[in-house]
Symmetry: C2
Subunit: 133 residues, 2 copies
DNA sequence: TGAACACTTTAGAATCATTCCAATTCTAAT
DNA sequence: ATTAGAATTGGAATGATTCTAAAGTGTTCA
C-alpha cells in the first residue's frame, strides 16, 4: 500500500493497528491501541504496536498528535482538521473547517520556508464540562 | 509578581530561569535551561528548574510548547505567535501574525465550547535548509 | 524444493524525560 | 528569635519510548 511516496507492507499486525485506529475517534495513545489490538491478537507486543504506528505514520496513513506532555496520541482522520482538547475531561475531538482555509497564509514566515504540515491545537473546556462547571 | 490571575513569588532561581528563557530565542528544553542557568548558579538542580518552569508557566509568564515526541520546550514570547519547526535542522522559530486572526472562527466547534488558548505548529523545512538541500 | 536474504515480530533491557519524595533550607510574619 | 509555609535539593521512582538480539516469516530465484 503506497501513499504520499512511502510504502508500507500491510502485514496482519499493521492492518489491525490501522483498523483499530480507524475505528477509534478518541485519539488513543500507543498503550490504548495496544490494549485494543490485544483483544483480537493476544500475542502482539507493545514494541510491535510502536513499530506499526511508526511505519503507518511515516507512510502517511495515520497522524501523530502532540497536545500535551506525556504520551503521543494517534489519529486516522486524514481530512483537514484541528484538534480540540478539553482541559477538564482530557477528551480530544476533531473539528473540521468552516471554510477552505490555509492557516499558513496568516503568518509571516521567512521567504523560502517550505511547509509540509500544520497542526492546530485548541485547548479549552468542552461544552459538556462547561455545563457541569 | 502577578499576571493572569496567578501569583508567583519571584525567588532568585525562578528569576534566573525566567531571565535565561527571555534571553533565548531557540525554545530551549528543560535540560537546555538547566545547563544555561547552571553557568550562573552552579548549585541549582534539574528538579528546581522543572519546578520553576511549572510555576512560571502556570502563572502565565512563560509557555510550554509541545511540537514533537520527547522533551517539552519553553518560550517566553507572550505575544500572539505560532511556531515554525524545521524538520531538517530541528530549529524552532516564532512567526507573528500578518493580520489579526482568530483561528477559532474558522473551525466548527460544538456550541458551548470555551477556548482558553490555541497552539499552531507549522512543520516544514526552513529557508536555510531548503537552500542546502 | 530450498538456500539466501530481507523484513517483521518479540520480550526484555535500556534510555530518556519527568515527577515524586523526604530532608533541608529559606523567607516572611509574628 | 520562632514558627509556619514555601522553595530547593539529590536521589529514587515512574512512565513513555526506543533499542537489541534472537526468532519467525515470507519471498525470490537458482
Amino acid at each position: 500500500m503506497a501513499l504520499l511516496g512511502a510504502d508500507v507492507r500491510l502485514t496482519p499486525h499493521r492492518r489491525e493497528v490501522f483498523e483499530v485506529l480507524q475505528g477509534s475517534t478518541d485519539h488513543p495513545t500507543a498503550t490504548d491501541i495496544f490494549t485494543r489490538v490485544k483483544d483480537r491478537s493476544p500475542s502482539i507486543s507493545l514494541a510491535t504496536v510502536y513499530n506499526c504506528l511508526e511505519h503507518l505514520s511515516s507512510a502517511g496513513l495515520i497522524k501523530q498528535v502532540h497536545l500535551e506532555r506525556g504520551q503521543s496520541r494517534y489519529c486516522a482522520n486524514l481530512h483537514e482538521h484541528v484538534h480540540f482538547h478539553c482541559e477538564t475531561c482530557g477528551k480530544v475531538t476533531d473539528a473540521h473547517p468552516a471554510a477552505g482555509f490555509d492557516p499558513a497564509k496568516f503568518w509571516n514566515l521567512p521567504a523560502g520556508t517550505k511547509i509540509t504540515r500544520t497542526e492546530l491545537a485548541i485547548h479549552g473546556t468542552c461544552a459538556s464540562c462547561a455545563t457541569k462547571g
